[in-house]
């Protein structure tokens, strides 16, 4: 167990998507509704909120939980107190990325986004298929505009940290 960070709860609550942590009463309805919690013992949304509130920063940031969330928002719709657990997952992920922790799958999509303006680009086969069946050319992304935006938000620097 890591040492406690008394300010962690507020650090999360001050992010736009982490506001709900201050409302959590640890009732457990989120974990009891979570489709991943049913099949994966380490993924426990209530426990994640508990760790945030207790200040177990390292356990939260380096743990598997936020990255195994499906973002199905079942927990969010069922939480009686506005804990917004599904949103808090994004808040934690954002903080983890700032620390340089990005899972490989996310990094791949992020790089594709920066380089081509799309998280998933069409492979050669898909492009040939379009021509053959008369769907015409794929819409062209204005990659320059995307890169301008992502440089302004320092997205490119964030993904550099993960490399």
């Amino acid at each position: 167990m890591s040492s406690l960070d008394a300010n962690f709860m507020h650090e999360v609550a001050n992010t736009p998507r982490g506001r709900g942590v201050l409302a959590c009463i640890q009732c457990g309805r989120c974990t009891n509704s979570c489709p991943v919690a049913k099949v994966m013992v380490e993924h426990n949304p209530r426990r994640l909120m508990e760790m945030i509130i207790l200040g177990l920063r390292a356990d939260v940031m380096l743990g598997p939980v936020p990255w195994h969330c499906l973002s199905c928002f079942t927990c969010l719709d069922r939480c009686p107190q506005g804990g917004d657990v599904g949103e808090a997952m994004f808040a934690i992920r954002n903080l983890a990325v700032k620390d340089g922790n990005i899972p490989r799958g996310v990094l791949t999509q992020a790089r594709s986004l920066f380089e081509a303006g799309r998280v998933v680009t069409s492979g050669r086969m898909a492009l040939i298929q379009r021509e053959k069946c008369g769907l015409g050319k794929e819409p062209i992304v204005d990659v320059e505009a995307v890169q301008k935006i992502l440089r302004k938000t320092c997205f490119d620097k964030l993904i550099q940290r993960g490399l």
């Binding site: 409302a23 009732c27 457990g28 009891n32 013992v41 009686p80 506005g82």
Partner: protein, 435 residues
């Protein structure tokens, strides 16, 4: 001569207020919209933590208040208009037609036996049946039959069999005007509609019921004669789960009952113990968020429930119920707070503890009386600390759950009923002044 008092609501709080005022010498008009006084307490099986039979301790009070020479019982009646102010209220009341002559009916029950129409019984929370001509429960006061016109098909059988010729199908609504000095509101609560939280499967899953429905199943005067059986197949349940806070402590926009209903932890433990007493080998689990057992004797009762009776207490709020379509059993997935792993447990019967909400019609009543409601829809107090029985209009007081959860149990409702009577007496007494 002191002016009389109108008491709106014939539950335990209204009954107590009426008795105290009548004993004090006031003329009391006790108005109740259903055919009998008694309210929620009459529906319960046993009261916590003493495990007294609820109707057994209520019925003597019901009879006493009905027979008091200073009390005018106006059941099956509703307030239609209120004018005036403290010391001088003009209250118009509509007496709905029972189509039964009150002076002739002896409550013998032959008509009910012969009536061919069955309808869901409101007193039994719609899980039991009554007839189109009925008495809501055996200890009803007044002991007079009522015909529900919507259910009645005018076959005339009741008229034929009544030995007292009490049926009067020409009866019309009666308007009366009362001239009183003060009003006490004691309209109680309604029960949250659990279908608004569809994940619990109510009412489609047959073996998911509300706590009030459970009370009717446990009660000897209820639809199963007091035998706890599963609605789907009539078998005795061997594993029972209680889910607390269904609708209570819920801030979501579409639910919007952020308060704690304050008595559900107590009655759930009471019911759990009752079930365990009956079937000691059954599994009884209470799924809670917090166990709020305040007041004299309640924490001890909870401790006994655990150590003596073996009731399981699990601090985890279920998110959903899954039903096995062939057995109608329910599966609850929950995180075991000790091992922190999610488990699936099967239950024969699941009981939901619903939020207790302001009674339907309270908005219209408040408008008629010119009093304000609070954020939750209960009656607003003039000063929640210094004047906890005064509504926002002088001369109009309130008692019981219509004021909101507060502590909310039966002794508290009785206390508030007496206290409201005291306030009325202060305001109306000759020499007391209108304060």
């Amino acid at each position: 001569m002191e002016k009389g008092v109108v008491v709106i609501g014939g539950g335990i709080a209204g009954i107590q207020a009426s008795m105290d005022l009548a004993n004090r010498g006031f003329q009391v008009y006790l108005i109740e919209k259903s055919p009998s006084i008694g309210g929620r307490m009459a529906q319960l099986d046993k009261t916590f933590p003493t495990m007294d039979c609820s109707i057994c301790i209520l019925a003597p009070k019901m009879i006493e208040v009905a027979h008091h020479s200073n009390v005018h019982l106006l059941t099956y009646s509703e307030v239609k208009e209120v004018k005036g102010s403290v010391g001088n209220f003009k209250v118009k009341v509509t007496r709905k037609p029972r189509y039964v002559d009150e002076t002739k009916c002896t409550g013998c029950g032959i008509c009910t036996e012969k009536c061919p129409i069955e309808a869901p019984s409101e007193f039994d929370e719609n899980i039991g049946a009554r007839k189109a001509i009925y008495m809501p429960f055996p200890q009803a006061v007044p002991r007079i039959m009522t015909i529900n016109k919507e259910d009645c098909m005018d076959c005339g059988i009741c008229e034929k069999v009544c030995p007292s010729q009490a049926i009067n199908r020409e009866q019309k609504p009666q308007e009366i005007e009362l001239d009183v000095g003060a009003i006490v509101v004691a309209t109680g609560f309604d029960i949250f509609d659990c279908s608004m939280i569809p994940q619990y499967g109510y009412p489609q899953f047959k073996n998911v019921i509300t706590a009030m429905e459970l009370e009717r199943l446990l009660c000897a005067s209820g639809p199963t004669g007091g035998h706890l059986i599963r609605p789907s197949d009539g078998r005795i349940p061997r594993s029972i789960a209680f889910i607390q806070c269904v609708g209570s402590r819920d801030r979501r926009d579409w639910i919007d009952h952020p308060y704690c209903s304050s008595i559900c932890c107590k009655y759930a433990v009471k019911d759990a113990v009752l079930i365990k007493e009956h079937e000691p080998d059954s599994l009884v689990t209470i799924f809670y968020i917090d166990m709020r057992a305040f007041g004299k004797g309640f924490q001890e009762f909870v401790n006994r429930a655990k150590s003596e009776f073996g009731v399981e207490f699990v601090r985890s709020n279920p998110g959903e119920l899954r039903e096995d379509p062939t057995t109608n059993n329910l599966t609850i997935s929950f995180e075991d707070p000790v091992t922190r792993t999610v488990q699936d447990v099967k239950y024969d019967l699941v009981i939901l503890s619903p939020a207790l909400i302001p009674s339907a019609g309270i908005k219209e009543l408040a408008k008629m009386l010119g009093i304000k409601l609070d954020n939750y829809g209960f009656l607003k107090l003039l000063d929640p600390v210094k004047k906890p029985l005064d509504t926002t209009a002088p001369g109009i007081f309130a008692a019981g759950y219509c004021l909101g959860p507060k502590t909310g149990d039966i002794p508290d409702s009785i206390t508030q009923g007496s206290a409201a009577a005291g306030r009325v007496a202060q305001v109306l007494s000759v020499g007391g002044g209108h304060r």
